[in-house]
């Protein structure tokens, strides 16, 4: 199946995530996701990119990368950061289970990964070769596969 590839590299600064969000929103709109799905995709990506900036970047110039693949079946987005000290190996199944177990609706932080889990059709967190994290988010274009 033919896949179209898009790549977007921005500095590790939440300032630029506004522009990333409208890009993802318009892309999802042209791919004919529903209004509700577009909001979900934008929020999931906002959380992934905010994490890449806050937890996965040494400084602004570290940069984060989005690799976007579009085919007839899905929109797949891989967000990669370069990591920073003390943040290695955070995405092992044990660590992730611990993060999830500790989440409380009444706490100020710690809701990002939970939302990513709720809002994507599928997702994956993997340590990458440069010491950072690759977060893959998949959204199926078939409305029937939509989650809650």
């Amino acid at each position: 199946m033919k896949k179209d590839q898009i790549e977007l590299n921005v500095p590790s600064d939440v300032f630029y995530l506004e522009s990333v969000r409208v890009f993802i929103g318009k892309l999802s709109e042209t791919l004919r996701f529903s209004k509700k799905r577009i909001a979900d995709i934008q929020l999931a990506l906002d959380e992934i990119c905010s994490n890449a900036v806050y937890h996965g970047s040494k400084c602004v110039s570290s940069g984060i990368q989005l690799q976007i693949s579009v085919d007839t079946r899905s929109l797949e987005i891989v967000v990669s950061d370069k990591g920073r000290e003390g943040m290695q190996d955070w995405s092992t199944p044990e660590k992730l289970a611990e993060i999830q177990a500790n989440r409380s609706p009444t706490s100020e932080r710690g809701h990002g990964l939970y939302l990513i889990n709720c809002l994507t059709d599928d997702h994956k967190l993997q340590a990458n070769t440069v010491g950072g994290t690759d977060v893959t988010a998949i959204f199926y274009r078939d409305v029937k596969q939509e989650k809650g």
């Binding site: 969000r21 909001a39 806050y54 609706p105 009444t106």
Partner: protein, 114 residues
């Protein structure tokens, strides 16, 4: 305290009303935190945040509101939200924050609830 680029501040008796004029992702969330912290410093304890012009909120901004709501309650005040688009209510519901921060349909009902 008269507001910022992204927020206007009005008042109704002893209640401060913040009109948010931007989407609330991580960039603007720090602005929102600053505005709310400043109101706490000024000993304001009743705050309504008006979301009429907001289309997007992320967990950082929701968390900020949850934190401020708790602190206002410690001062016998509260934080109430109004005019949320359905996608925003959904985000509060998913996180579970709607059990902590009160959400109202309109500004009037938010004010009346104090």
């Amino acid at each position: 305290m008269t507001g910022t680029e992204f927020m206007d501040i009005r008042e109704n008796a002893d209640i401060k009303i913040i009109d948010v004029k931007t989407d609330l992702s991580s960039y603007a969330a720090s602005d929102l935190r600053q505005v709310l912290e400043d109101l706490l410093t000024e000993k304001v304890n009743k705050v309504v945040v008006n979301f009429k012009d907001v289309d997007h909120i992320n967990s950082t901004a929701v968390g900020t509101l949850v934190g401020i709501a708790k602190r206002l309650r410690q001062n016998d005040g509260d934080l109430k939200l109004c005019n949320l688009a359905s996608t925003l209510t959904r985000t509060f519901n998913l996180i579970g924050a709607s059990s902590v921060v009160e959400i109202y349909e309109s500004e009037n009902s938010a004010i009346a609830a104090f």
